[in-house]
Amino acid sequence: YPLDGAARGEDASMDLVQQYLENYYNLPKQAKQFVRRKDSGPVVKKIREMQKFLGLEVTGKLDSDTLEVIHKPRCGVPDVGY
């Protein structure tokens, strides 16, 4: 059960970050769930872009600082150009 719970938590975080990246960093909607498979995938690239823009340590991973920032209230205008 603990392992399942952890996995579910990770998936929820992934969905959240995916949505965040789509909304604010122009992540194409078809770029799904590459984060754990490939370090150079579009999601990882966008996570890096987000971390750089928001002044976080650029890891390309969903570390606690990155997740904390994603939960913070913010302006709805995307952070990168259309």
């Binding site: 750089k52 928001l54 209230p73 913010r74 302006c75 709805g76 995307p78």
Partner: protein
């Protein structure tokens, strides 16, 4: 900072705004005041002015809404997205929408409407998000423990002035032609051997070196050197100053440009300014001051204009008789036009272009000739 793709901006400086509806979280006058104050933040550092409309289509339409509200960018309930706004243009462009599922406040608890409005109205004027965490245009909401401490960051000021330029100086156009938007200056390099200063003054034990739109702030205590936009400290002051001096007994720095001067205390421009320089007792032939310094022991202020100087009695608050006098007669060795002057360690430092004369007022002689930027340890 960054601007929207294509750099949309308003092609006029007199803009209109309308508060279309209100949140129930705050009294109406608190909403009015927050929006007005947020516009003022940008008004103070640009030539833009804002006037309120009560009906019809304004350039900037401010509204509160929940969920889907007609622009295909629905709000998302409490938290997360607080508001959004559109870049300058017609119709929906320029408008600012606030999510009424937030708890809007005028305090630091909840979501402060003024802080969010200052950010969104930055979008309405053409600023995109900034990656500078100190900037109002940084996309994440940041609370201030003391709202009175709120000020635009240098990044915000540089961003908005890249679109609209600095505020137009309110000069008396009978004497000095009013400038529209002055051309942008390059950022001065502190170790440029040709560096000169517009004005230099002490301020509470530090020294401020003014150049174009910027100033360096040198602390003798910490030896730190900071570089700032003048407008980030004193939004209503002009750039390209002529002279500045501190009267320590009044804790005030007087700043001169053209035929006007301002009194500033710390970060505040004092009420009642700008005033005309002729109120100090200068004849009408004096159009501007080159440099000034106040001797705190003798309670006298020296104003340098071309090759002459005037002396002002700080106790009597009047210009002394017998002036102007030739600078070179009373300050032997100082025989060039003076850009700036300040006092440190008992010496007067006179600046002319990239050179600086160290003058001993007791011995009445020049003791050293130095580079102007020697204070920056170049």
């Amino acid at each position: 900072f960054s601007t929207f793709p294509g750099t949309p901006k308003w092609r006029k400086t007199q803009l209109t705004y309308r508060i279309v509806n209100y949140t129930l979280d705050l009294p109406r006058d608190a909403v009015d005041s927050a929006i007005e104050k947020a516009l003022k933040v940008w008004e103070e550092v640009t030539p833009l002015t804002f006037s309120r409309m009560y009906e019809g289509e304004a350039d900037i339409m401010v509204s509160f809404a929940v969920g889907e509200h007609g622009d295909f960018s629905p709000f998302d309930g409490p938290g997360k997205v607080l508001a959004h706004a559109y870049p300058p243009g017609r119709g929906i462009y320029g408008d600012a929408h606030f999510d009424d599922d937030e708890q809007w406040t005028k305090e630091t608890a909840g979501t402060n409407l003024f802080l969010v409005a200052a950010h969104e109205l930055g979008h309405s004027l053409g600023l995109f998000h900034s990656a500078n965490t100190e900037a109002v245009m940084y996309p994440l909401y940041k609370t201030f423990t003391d709202l009175a401490q709120f000020r635009l960051s240098q990044d915000d000021v540089a961003g908005i002035q890249s679109l609209y330029g600095p505020p137009s100086a309110s000069l008396d156009d009978t004497l000095v032609p009013t400038e529209s938007v002055p051309p942008a200056h390059e950022t001065p390099a502190m170790c440029d051997p040709a560096l000169s200063f517009d004005a230099v003054s002490t301020l509470r034990g530090e020294v401020l070196f003014f150049k174009d739109r910027h100033f360096w702030r040198k602390s003798f205590r910490t030896h730190e050197l900071e570089f700032h936009l003048i407008s980030s400290f004193w939004p209503s002051l002009p750039s390209d100053l002529d002279a500045a001096y501190e009267v320590t007994s009044k804790d005030t720095v007087f700043i001169f440009k053209g035929n006007q001067f301002w009194g500033v205390r710390g970060g505040e421009v004092q009420a009642g300014y700008p005033r005309g320089i002729h109120t100090l007792g200068f004849p009408p032939t004096v159009k501007k001051i080159d440099a000034a310094i106040s001797d705190k022991d003798k309670k006298k202020t020296y104003f340098f204009v071309e090759d002459k100087y005037w002396r002002f009695d700080e106790k009597r608050q009047s210009m002394e008789p017998g002036f102007p006098r030739q600078i070179a007669e009373d300050f032997p060795g100082v025989d060039t036009k003076i850009d700036a002057v300040f006092e440190a360690f008992g010496f007067f430092y006179f600046f002319n272009g990239s050179s600086q004369l160290e003058f001993d007022p007791n011995a009445k002689k020049v003791t050293h000739i130095l580079k102007s930027n020697i204070w920056f340890n170049c």
